[in-house]
């Protein structure tokens, strides 16, 4: 019993390390040259060698991403609340939102560059644009799927629409909201790195771009690993926040 428990606890580490081992073995075994696919050890070594530059660019990307993500959260909650609490707004906004979400954000970056110049601002914007959609959809869904009986309980007490939103709507939408944060924050990284790759001279996207132009593939992969690690860390943080704040929706663990 305890053995099985340990397995599930360590399995994420085992799987990740296993992946690196397989990667290392395959690349060495097949003698793949460094400029095609570097080994993870070479990537990690490159990461260590260029740690100063990586640190600076990673911090830039992290802050850019979080700034865009923060705007997405505020915007997403407000728009989600509007869309979710009125059928008319829902029908009106739905096609526009879906259409907007279908536009590849990389195609928007040049427009943003025209407006704001290259650098941090378009990256923040791209992170925002790519990550707000899941938040809107989830908050709206959480509000719109409110049980009619629950609404009637409050309405029969003479509750206003605002009362219903605050007492029932938002608390009930909270698990949906936190679920969307996990997805959104990883998308925000996609947005900011994409914009940095196309139009910036700072950030992980720029670092990897310039490294690949010098055929420094180990550094490119070091960059990828750093971005992935930041994404996993953010996802993990929001998972913990989710579990803490919506314990009622996760019946697994008994309340302490």
């Amino acid at each position: 019993m305890s053995k099985r428990f340990d397995l599930s606890k360590y399995s994420p580490w085992i799987a990740s390390i296993g992946l690196f081992v397989v990667w290392e073995v395959v690349v060495r075994g097949l003698r793949v040259p460094d400029y095609i696919l570097p080994t993870p050890s070479a990537s990690l070594l490159a990461g260590w060698t260029f740690r100063g530059a990586i640190w600076m660019h990673a911090l830039q990307t992290l802050l850019t991403t979080l700034a865009g993500f923060a705007i997405a959260v505020v915007f997403g909650v407000v728009l989600g609340a509007l869309v979710g609490s009125s059928r008319a707004i829902y029908s009106a906004a739905n096609p526009i939102l879906i259409g907007f979400n279908s536009v590849p954000k990389v195609a928007v970056v040049p427009i943003l560059v025209m407006w704001f110049g290259i650098g941090t601002v378009p990256a923040v914007f791209t992170a925002f644009l790519i990550s707000f959609f899941p938040i809107v959809v989830n908050v709206a869904t959480g509000l719109a799927t409110l049980e009619p009986e629950l609404r009637d309980v409050l309405r029969s007490l003479g509750a206003s629409r605002l009362d219903i939103l605050l007492k029932v709507g938002f608390p009930r939408a909270l698990p949906f909201f936190f679920a969307s944060l996990k997805v959104s924050v990883t998308l925000a990284f996609v947005g900011s790195v994409m914009s940095e790759t196309v139009a910036s001279n700072v950030g992980m996207g720029y670092l990897m771009m310039s490294a690949s132009s010098k055929f420094n593939m180990p550094l490119v992969f070091a960059g990828l690993l750093v971005i992935a690690a930041m994404g996993v860390a953010m996802y993990g943080i929001f998972s913990i926040v989710e579990r803490r704040s919506t314990r009622w929706a996760m019946r697994g663990a008994p309340t302490a």
Binding site: D152, A159, P171, A249
Partner: protein, 263 residues
């Protein structure tokens, strides 16, 4: 006939707004006195729940007047408590917080909320104790059984001391023993501080046990077919359910329903 506390005067309700939409209620008239306990029985889908929504102001009538407490109902009433077949407790709130919910919305409690929080909590605890939920105040709904959730739901519908209590098959999903225990609890609360009750149910024994007056409704479109006063003295206890009068009353109601269903 004097104006009742709740007065339905030739009320018609259609689903949707159109004039040719299907009828839910047809020319229904009722007069309920203040403090009276009435039950509405009828075959399923006869518009019993629509009746509750009309009286509580959640739905406007298509035709006719609904008057509660000398005033025409034009929107949700604040003097109403409601409990449904589903307990509809809020899962993120504890039992106590769920019971306190109406006090956060209904005046005058709402304004004095912070200052009198302790008083309100004591009141809610006392009510919970009466329905047998002492010690469960801090549990969340999913930690309670169905019967316990329904008890908490009953407390929530009564905490703001409504003049009118609407019950929509509140005991329908419970086992027979729990149901009969809750009948006694409800009767006890009602005899302590008489409020007007409209109980919608398909359980004829429940209607005969609890109500002063029993209305039998027809199939859709619903209309009142029979108004039957309940002769059984109060307080009623489980022994009553084995008396001849009780059995005759249930039998009579059953015959009405049989006729309604065959029609």
């Amino acid at each position: 006939m004097p104006v009742g506390f709740v007065d339905l005067d030739h009320v018609t309700l259609r689903y949707g707004g159109d004039a040719d939409a299907p009828l839910a209620l047809d020319e229904t008239s009722m007069k309920i006195a203040k403090g009276e306990f009435i039950a509405v029985v009828g075959p399923s889908g006869c518009g019993k729940s629509s009746l509750l929504k009309l009286v509580s102001g959640l739905m406007p009538p298509s035709d006719g007047n609904v008057i509660v407490n000398d005033r025409e109902v034009s929107g949700p009433l604040k003097i109403v408590g409601m409990a449904f077949q589903n307990p509809t407790l809020l899962p993120w709130r504890t039992t106590l917080q769920n019971v306190l919910l109406p006090l956060e919305i209904v005046e005058p409690y709402r304004s004095s909320g912070r200052a009198e929080r302790k008083t309100f909590e004591a009141k809610a605890m006392a009510l919970l104790a009466k329905v047998g939920l002492a010690g469960f105040e801090d549990k969340h709904p999913w930690e309670l059984s169905g019967g316990m959730q329904q008890r908490a739901s009953l407390c929530r519908s009564l905490i703001h001391e409504p003049d009118l209590l609407m019950l929509d098959e509140p005991f329908g999903a419970l086992d027979a023993f729990t149901r009969e225990e809750l009948w006694d609890i409800l009767q006890g609360l009602w005899m302590e501080r008489p409020f007007t009750v409209i109980l919608v149910t398909h359980d004829l024994r429940e209607a005969a046990y609890l109500a002063d007056t029993i209305y039998v409704m027809s199939k859709r479109p619903g209309r009142i077919l029979v108004r039957r006063e309940n002769p059984l003295p109060r307080p009623r206890d489980q022994e009553v359910t084995f008396s001849q009068d009780f059995i005759d009353l249930v039998h009579e109601l059953r015959n009405h329903i049989r006729v309604v269903r065959a029609a």
